[in-house]
Symmetry: C2
Subunit: 586 residues, 2 copies
Amino acid sequence: MPTLRLALCQVNPTVGDLSGNAALIREWTRRAADAGAQLVAFPEMMLTGYPVEDLVFRRSFVAASKAALERLAADLAADGLGDLPVLVGYLDADGPPQVSGDAEPGHGARNAAALLHGGGTVATYFKHHLPNYGVFDEDRYFVPGNMLTVVRIGGVDVALTICEDLWQAGGPFAAARQAGVGLVLNINGSPYELNKDDIRLPLVRRRAAEAGATIAYVNMIGGQDELVFEGDSMIVTADGTLLARAPQFVEHLLVHDVELPEATPRADDDAELADALRVVRRTVGSVPAAPAGPAVTGGVIEPVADEAEVWQALVLGLRDYVNKNRFPSVVLGLSGGIDSAVCAALAVDALGADRVVGVSMPSQHSSVHSREDAADLAKRTGLDYRIEPIQPMVDTFLANMSLSGVSVENLQARVRGVILMALSNQEGHLVLTTGNKSELAVGYSTLYGDSVGGFNPVKDVWKTLIWRLATWRNGDAARRGETAPIPENSIGKPPSAELSPGQLDSDTLPDYDVLDPILIGYVDGDLGRDGLVESGHDPAVVDRVLRMVDTAEYKRRQSAPGTKISMKAFGRDRRLPITNRWRENG
Amino acid sequence: MPTLRLALCQVNPTVGDLSGNAALIREWTRRAADAGAQLVAFPEMMLTGYPVEDLVFRRSFVAASKAALERLAADLAADGLGDLPVLVGYLDADGPPQVSGDAEPGHGARNAAALLHGGGTVATYFKHHLPNYGVFDEDRYFVPGNMLTVVRIGGVDVALTICEDLWQAGGPFAAARQAGVGLVLNINGSPYELNKDDIRLPLVRRRAAEAGATIAYVNMIGGQDELVFEGDSMIVTADGTLLARAPQFVEHLLVHDVELPEATPRADDDAELADALRVVRRTVGSVPAAPAGPAVTGGVIEPVADEAEVWQALVLGLRDYVNKNRFPSVVLGLSGGIDSAVCAALAVDALGADRVVGVSMPSQHSSVHSREDAADLAKRTGLDYRIEPIQPMVDTFLANMSLSGVSVENLQARVRGVILMALSNQEGHLVLTTGNKSELAVGYSTLYGDSVGGFNPVKDVWKTLIWRLATWRNGDAARRGETAPIPENSIGKPPSAELSPGQLDSDTLPDYDVLDPILIGYVDGDLGRDGLVESGHDPAVVDRVLRMVDTAEYKRRQSAPGTKISMKAFGRDRRLPITNRWRENG
């Protein structure tokens, strides 16, 4: 059996940064070549970044992707790497936009992979299964492929596939078995979800069995707006053996020597395979010989445990949002409470203490312990600590307007928002907002007050998980002999917004250990009222919580909807990444 | 040839309000019966409202829609209307959620229409073409139908279709010709777009020719978050004759006697028709006899001209957002400028002057003419006028923080935002934000300042169109002998944010008659930089404008993204209407 030295490049592209991503490919291909690789694979839409959303509809962007691919192939050859086959994800399109019936003009965009070799493209594959659920809208963007591409590389038949193709039975992997391949490359932009790593390995094993072939799975890492990609690249044989597995949340070159079956002569170009795919066969003339010496193994890194995994995901998501959008630093309010303390610790882990500004903004309702806890956090983490009392501004508003009750509570949060935004304008920091998912769900926050900010590191973290993360992070510090970043006081005390005398969250909300399970059932589980009551929750509490969730949608948006009168309103019509380096004018 | 008296009910449902929408159907069916109707049709997803977005994934909501349909059929019979066939759009689903491959659980939801008669459902149709472009995500929500439903009603074969089915050639309308029908009912939730009324009639004519049958097209009216539905219901014969056409933007009962071909005996239940549809045939036992007397005609209302049409769309969108979300009133800042003046006039037209509060918030940079123009507008429209000077609050911030330049400019806009939100909290008004589409495109606004608000009536209106609308509205008032609402000064003077001494928009932006055509090409037209330059725009100006648009995405959002770690983050994962009356607990 032939042996191929595979190099899976688990790297971090940036949406829209075609030249930067191409440079990354050249650099990592060089590293792979130096490690003796004979076949190299990069993630899904590596060249454009993923997901590019409505950038797909810009013909200039599609043209730039295709041009960048050609240039990359030539550059790799010029780098002396032309004999090394490199699989790269990119955005392709067939000719001009199509018009579908009398409706909207369609387009022929493809989520594509190209095998580069000898200064050009020797094979192309178009993603077959387009996910259109959850965060995915690929039916909006792409036309599905209907071919299985098989490339003979170093005497082995290799099928090319992309991401979702792996998640569906009976598609390209079943076709790959009929085509008799020895290896399936699967390139991914597969976003992180809690526990997804537990699902991924069994899935790859099932699909390897279906294909009767080894699968080499490569995933990107990095943050892209709300998505974070975790890597977890791996190689699994047809019998389910895990040969190698990369760590999560870091760039990694996974190099492994894989024994693969020798290809036999075939001429089934016209065969109709599973899912009505047809096979296209190509051959790569020659590949580099593997260097002499012992077989190279990539090693198997076990995924980390839950709290560690979430912490790493949040750190990476925050770091990339800040860096890819070129913010020098972040600023956040420090109340002495747990949410802002966890966000500050995440920010310091992501960016370093010298890029984090924490502002204590006490009012007459702020307790002594809150001020002390904020100062303690600052000391523990080493961040840039400021104090900006809000009472003078609050008093001036109150002297000029007749306000009472919740209006006065919200006023304090809004004055804090104005202070943070003023610091952002004056000094260039990105403002972090720190409301957790439980608050967001029930609308327990001040619109344009504590919700002000450009990024929220804990937006998808339930309050009870915030506490677990804090405890885990402090424990992790202890295990390393480092200072725990989060004051124990902030973890232990009852949560309060401190916007009126003696106020506690529990005055308004059920205790979080009652609230969170209801929210998790309703939001994450799509359980209805009856299902929640059947699960044992108090019907009166369920009714109260559901009413809060159902009426908080406007707060979760913040930005005002407005009547659409054109084909391209700024709203539902136009879906663009925020983190996006694409510029029409370079 | 038999004659059928058709009644097309162009009504205004509310998303999630199943009982309210059912009551509307009963009321309008009664009115149709009183007019002697023999066949009645309501819009797409009339019973649930449209679009319901991710509410589709709530099994409790699907179950409620199906239960409401059954109850409605029984109630119509109890109302003595059981012999009148009534076509109603609703949300259906086939059994439990499906699991598609190894990927996300799917679902069997259907965008459905039911023909109610005799206290039950005699025929069902599932939408065949699911739009998944622009504002539509129907591939995310629905499984397409694969049957053509033909019902024999009063001796005429009638095919049932839904919205997008009309926009695609070769689908159900082609199948309807093969099935030999005399009439196609097409029920719609078709959102307004400028000039869409010019496209719609030719489209209906093409499809009527394709079907070889008369088409009765009924569309809803009303606002739903960013969408506004305009009605424009119509009846067109196979030879393209426009028999009747309803007005835009108002509820309307369009009743018309239509001569239709007598159905002939057929038994093609198993025939395979166009687009692989199969035909299902049903018969309605009896229909009411049309009352004696002359034939009833619905009349043909011509669509109104552009500015009038946009004005009506904006008024309706605003009115329904306010009323369907149960706000008693609105509040907005009045700067004396054109944007806030147009918004105030729209609000007064939508809600009446007694539900509109206008607040002048002068600073040291506000000119005398601005204050006078704001007061003049208030006098002309009769709205509730307040003055809240911002200088004391601005001065307190400046005394407590070291701010300069743009930070000080933004501070003033943010103090105004705090004042408006405080009035909203204290008195219950919805805050209107008034930034036009040109500003939004280039990011010429203050995040959490003038962009604060729950609804923006002119979010999709380019600045040059704002001026045209103002001129048109004043002229319309003059034609009616009424007071023009908008001060001529506000229309004529050069635009300024008045945040620093002598500031003009033209200090920062190209003139709007240069800027808007570039923005329209780039945003609405998806033209690239080169295409814009080829169209004759100055390359340096194009580059400057495109860079502003490409970097303003974060301002258009306002709400902070945050790293997603679960299947149901509040962000891309979960897409819910804001205007939504559905409550799990009633």
